[in-house]
Symmetry: D2
Subunit: 306 residues, 4 copies
């Protein structure tokens, strides 16, 4: 029998209150730094098509690294398993944008969810399709069914102006021959993909194919085959939370992908997609309140992959 | 409806044949090096108490690092969550017995399944209980219900004679204050725990509590509480396969723990424990044929956590 | 009594013959790769103003990293000891263009002779003087007294087209706030400085101030104060030979700076500057025949700083 | 003309006063921790046989890592250049007792002056001569001409009780096959060698062969051949000061070896050996006042290798 998701969400909204103020809003660019921290939204979408939301579930926020999940779907569609010749599938074990590993492993990033790996993924989309930036945004809008998911141009510009570390990653990988695009073009696409705005409800809808064997009930299409849906879930579980994958699996027990905008999307295959948003981050760059909310969610429902 | 596990095992036994000879039996100690490589056994134990086996499922082999799963259960019972002050819960991202990470992180190993972490876990059992080595072996026998699971003294001695790297790990952690026991005593317990012999059938039985909310039908006891059973599954998934956790999750999709003796134990919570043994290892130190067999198992049954 | 330098040079020219073919001409850019390997020149200039040369001592070659010594003189003149807040004075202990150390030490390169450090040095000249590229080339021409030392535009362009790793270094340091210039401009100055052509005779003349307490007899000016001349010699000895400083000090025993064009300049304070050129490099990127020639030189003359 | 060394020492004794209290006495073992910090001695011995001393130049202190210079002389005598197959000659570029480099370079330490390298050197003496510990102490007494240079048994025992990191190094190198001796025996010799007591006057006498082409006027013997004396000076300059070789060369400009007992020995080939002792250490583990005193010494006399 299905839990009473709405009641669970209401309890969570109460119980996360003491955690506000314990994290810190991302401050490396002004446009993110001024987002008020005490916001919280959560949305569940079940495979039966039911939706449950609480709080600021319809407020748009900056998708940031959660976008890496969707550009990866596109790149897998373009390259198939050959993609794994250019990016690994192992957790990084070090800081999420470290250059050390890249240098030791000849420019092959450990996985597609660290910055270096996501840049390779975006390079695949950029170098092999016309209008790459448009294609990523179009794909996300197709998954959410919401034409309002647009690039926040101020955020995109600000990312670019502070993006020297990502430029270092791209140049280093290019020196190893693992980047095909022209670097300024590639970084432009990358920064714009991270600057798309989205809401919790949108995110839950967009991730539903991962809970439903690859099928999107939003647009009635098979987005991924069943096997790739499973595999993306496995990748999220082992690599989706920066340096905190182990702790997140231990506490929450769901495949998930987070972003420094404060959003997290998680999935229970065969059951639901659940998204949460709260801007204050923990030391690993994951939403502190959001992680707590997801931990409460799996504890209260008794539902996790483990 | 339950798959026809026996038929699945029979198909697997056929399909893994071409993979013999592609890996290499562990050769760092003579007692392991002389194990014939072309052996294969597999055992499934469901939560309904059914058992299905194929091949050499009752042949004893060296448990090696799979023992770390059981010593961890004991250490968690002794210290509770305080254990996590002395060992992390994150994948290592580097070679499974690396000293680098230990030095950078003040003697706190990344997780309890790399050698350094397992030595800390054994230190907890050694320093806080009388007759530690006996206690670990007794615990394993209690879980398997098989009094024949004994320490292979030749293997234990051989491990000790080639154990300078583990001695380096123990000394380094002791220099940081993270080892309480006398080092020769500790290493003796550690090497003996790794030298226990066990069969696939035994392993599947011993791991059943992880599939059954902590309850062991073998001895009728609640070995772990439900929450800790889930958590151990999460730890296995993110840290149980040395440097190959990501690939294993991607290909197999089950929480698992491997050992260089060629054994692997995996679990689908709520459904079954499945073990496999085949001595030839891949480049990451995991059974090559065993990993293939588990991949076939989840593909054929359509059952995985993802 | 002064050794018979000319006789020594003649002996060296004979004895280095068997070493041709043991190294490899730098091949990361076409313009360097096509330089014939079997060339050898050597020049000594004593503090008394005598000059002794052998072989191809007047042939122009690509100055490459030897230029770092001269840009450092300029940067020290501009910033004084404050330069050491932006770059260290310790040997790197790792590959000469590694990013690892930069990341661990917050964008402060270990010394001014590794690529990252030389980029910071060039940034000082670029950001704090008008016409930086011209200023570096002018300074070198002033030291050699030879107006023919010009930028090889083909080499400069080729460096730029293959300079992704240096671009990675510059971007990484900029992300830490240790680069002031616009990166494309900076890299342009840097690549052009490395592409200046020079001969052994020119190099020996240009380095004479380091043997003569900072005074240049070529142009009659005090280029550095006596203390800075000593300090630059100390820096060359501990940091001037990429990863081979220890072996070079052990075998040769002179402060020196090398470049992948095959040139090396060395100094015995109070006595002479000695330069050598031969394009084939050893595994550390230093001229193989050139290093051998300098080893023979200090052995035969019995003169070294030790 | 020779400087007035006595006058220089007197000026230095005045000028180093403000530097007391800025460093910290080594505190990793009690026997060193209780040494009063405000002590200072200095001794010069010229190649003409003159000796000049100031302050506590005849007070015995713990030789610690300065002993590595003397055990290296012995090991070179035993193995000749084959020693360099087991230990490198390059500066370490990282913390002086790091395990990282050892792991990356297959158990070959970077140089004989970091702990790992000194343990290999002591292993050579231990495994290839009877009564190794006695042999090292005898050799030092032979060089100083002072039979009072004895092992401080309290210090040796204390080193052993806190020597887990050195035990880790020895075990790691043994796992790579680079240690021949039994580890407890080896560490006992190593800790006892570091616990020898010596004075500044003794040290200056013991190092005189390095200033005098290998000849010891104390005992009238050629201790090293001329070439090896030069080479040891080169090794000291590039590797003798832990992580501070570059800064030391820049500030002082003499080949030197330091110890955490607060002693430093330095040499100007052809001129003198100079030793200093003051127990308070800087962040790199070198005597803070001692380093300042040597800097003043080379500045005031105008004598350095550069």
């Amino acid at each position: 029998m299905q839990p009473d998701y709405q009641a669970v969400l209401q309890e969570i909204e109460q119980e996360i209150q003491p955690y506000f103020g314990m994290g810190r809003v991302a401050d490396y660019i002004p446009a993110l730094a001024r987002v008020p921290g005490r916001q919280f939204g959560m949305a569940v979408r079940t495979v039966d098509g039911d939706e449950f939301t609480i709080g600021d579930a319809d407020s748009p926020f900056s998708i940031q690294s959660v976008s890496k999940l969707f550009s990866l779907m596109l790149a897998l569609d373009i390259m198939g398993d050959d993609l794994w010749l250019r990016v690994g599938r192992e957790p990084s074990g070090t800081a999420f944008n470290s250059l050390v590993q890249l240098e030791h492993e000849a420019g092959i990033p450990r996985n597609p969810f660290i910055n270096a790996g996501a840049i390779v993924v975006t390079d695949v989309v950029t170098s092999r399709s016309a209008g790459a930036q448009r294609r990523i945004a179009d794909f996300i809008r197709m998954l959410t069914g919401n034409q309002d998911n647009r690039v926040d141009e101020e955020v995109a510009l600000s990312e670019k102006e502070h993006g020297y570390r990502n430029a270092a990653l791209a140049n280093l990988m290019k020196s190893f021959g693992n980047i095909e695009s022209d670097i300024p073009t590639l970084l432009d696409v990358y920064f714009r993909q991270c600057a798309i705005t989205i809401s919790c409800r949108d995110l839950a809808r967009a991730a539903t194919p991962l809970a439903q064997g690859g099928y999107s009930p939003i647009n009635g299409q098979q987005i991924l085959d069943r096997r790739d849906a499973k595999r993306l879930n496995a990748l999220m579980l082992t690599c989706g939370l920066y340096d905190a994958v182990g702790n997140f699996a231990y506490r929450v027990g769901l495949p998930a992908k987070s972003g420094v905008g404060g959003g997290i999307i998680a999935v229970l295959p065969g059951q639901f997609a659940v998204s949460v948003w709260s801007p204050e981050l923990d030391a690993n760059g994951n939403s502190l309140v959001g992680t707590k909310a997801l931990e409460l969610f799996t504890t209260k429902t008794g539902l996790s992959i483990f």
